[in-house]
């Protein structure tokens, strides 16, 4: 059974194994540096459907089925699935997964959803309540754009701090026993808000949440960022990454050399004109499930702290003048089942 260290961090005593992962992307993701990391790329962002919402659902179906295929498992062998996305009421997940017949937990953590779903699945597995679970997350540029901003054909100008919602999905199959990597500990984030109101500057809005969660994890475990191969934040982009490093430095935590951000990895920011970087929960889902977790499986990376950040606003509250509340959940992954940081 899991136990707590410090105030915020939950250590998993039977660390669940990540049995297999899959990542799905579209055209922009193919044009980026991580093309090879994706299991399936459909250049048509409609994924042969007639609406963006259906396209996103298909991405989730594909991500889960591909991951299950790689793990050699059937849907009926999965005890529960934890999934979420950015669409209203999480329809990307619920409609994408409705045919599978797997017990379903809908998760909403905005762009932090990949960490939140991994976290939920892992703690359930550790408790013995489940034997196998899937964590799945997606976002779709077009579906998000029409919901949060403007019609796609609308002629608007993006500011330099704006981030690009990834059209990507990632799924991870977790099991009680299995090979590396393992989910060793998790830190649940608190809702942070330092008053940023610019919806085109999500990185700045979310950086405090990431800083707080990283600081708590380091304090709870007595470690520092350089003890890990990578502290990888989800979707802070260029602006948010600079800010999180700065914020942590003020607390005496040096992130500098061991930090990267999923939003900076998925695209070639200059060449693809991505402004401040990638975002959307599919961004960290794609990067983790397509790139980082497989590198851990190959034993190239060993100790990873994954901190996915999410902005918990919607267009209604932003139009009403609310500032952007945000959150960051942390998952500590290791190739070792014991030892390491916890």
């Amino acid at each position: 059974m899991a136990h707590r260290i410090g105030k915020y961090t939950i250590v998993l005593d039977q660390p669940p194994s990540i049995l297999a992962t899959a990542a799905i992307g579209s055209k922009k993701e193919r044009e980026g540096p991580l093309e090879k990391s994706f299991d399936f790329i459909c250049d048509d962002p409609y994924f042969e459907q007639d609406s963006w919402e259906k396209a996103e659902s298909i991405m989730q179906t594909k991500a889960v089925n591909t991951a299950l295929g790689k793990a050699g498992l059937q849907p009926q062998e999965i005890d529960a699935i934890f999934a979420g996305d950015l669409l209203n009421q999480c329809v990307g997940s619920s409609y994408g997964l409705r045919e599978l017949g797997i017990p379903f937990m809908g998760v909403y953590g905005a762009c932090s959803t990949m960490a939140e779903s991994l976290l939920g699945a892992s703690v359930f597995l550790d408790s013995g309540a489940l034997n196998r679970a899937v964590a799945c997350t997606s976002s779709h540029f077009c579906a998000a754009e029409r919901q949060y901003r403007f019609p796609l054909e609308y002629g608007g100008q993006r500011t330099p701090t704006a981030q690009w919602t990834a059209t990507a999905a990632g799924a991870a199959v977790l099991g009680k026993d299995g090979p590396s990597p393992y989910v060793r500990a998790v830190t649940i984030g608190t809702i942070e808000d330092l008053g940023i109101t610019d919806a085109n500057n999500m990185g700045a809005a979310m950086a405090p949440a990431a800083a707080v969660t990283i600081q708590r994890f380091m304090e709870d475990t007595g470690k520092k960022p350089s003890d890990f191969d990578l502290v990888i934040t989800g979707d802070l982009g260029k602006v948010g990454s600079d800010l999180v490093r700065d914020l942590l430095l003020r607390e005496g935590i040096k992130l500098e050399n061991s930090h990267t951000d999923c939003g900076l990895m998925l695209y070639d920011l200059e060449k693809q004109d991505m402004h401040a970087g990638g975002s959307g929960c599919g961004c960290s889902a794609g990067v983790m499930c397509g790139h980082i977790l497989p590198l851990m499986r190959e034993d190239t990376l060993h100790e990873i702290v994954f901190v996915a950040t999410g902005a918990l606003m919607n267009p209604t509250v932003v139009q009403q003048g609310e500032s952007i509340a945000s959150i960051a959940h942390l998952v500590y992954l290791s190739t070792k089942k014991e030892g390491g940081a916890v």
């Binding site: 055209k27 962002p45 540029f141 077009c142 029409r146 019609p151 796609l152 054909e153 608007g156 100008q157 610019d198």
Partner: protein, 121 residues
């Protein structure tokens, strides 16, 4: 030359009006919808006090194509309608003056939605 001068005037005046809009976007963080709305209302005011028509006479499309011109048109329409119909003109003038543009935009937008679906580069 009789072609070049009016084109140049339209270009310069229209360009300046757009440039002001750009400065508003970059420095005030006003959303595009607010800028459009602000331009139309300003156009009504400038048209109402009779300033804007002078600019239209000078720059032609350079003043009538930016949304300020749309506001000016509304004001002009109201003025003419009040002169013709009296009090009712207060209500009919605006829509009458801009009816052509709006009807064209509505019908063509409907048609565009019949013909195309949204795409991404």
């Amino acid at each position: 030359m009789d072609l070049f001068i009016p084109l140049l005037r339209a270009f310069v005046v229209g360009g300046i009006l757009c440039g002001i809009g750009q400065l508003l976007i970059d420095f005030t963080k006003l959303t595009p919808a607010r800028i459009l709305t602000g331009y139309v209302v300003t156009g009504v005011i400038l048209g109402g006090i009779g300033v804007y028509q002078k600019l239209v006479d000078f720059a032609g499309a350079g003043a009538s194509v930016p949304l300020l011109g749309f506001g000016n048109l509304l004001a002009k329409g109201v003025r003419e309608a009040v002169a013709e119909q009296g009090m009712l003109g207060i209500l009919t003038g605006g829509f009458t003056a801009c009816a052509g543009g709006i009807a064209a935009a509505v019908v063509l937008s409907l048609l565009s939605a019949v013909l195309w679906k949204s795409k991404i580069k």
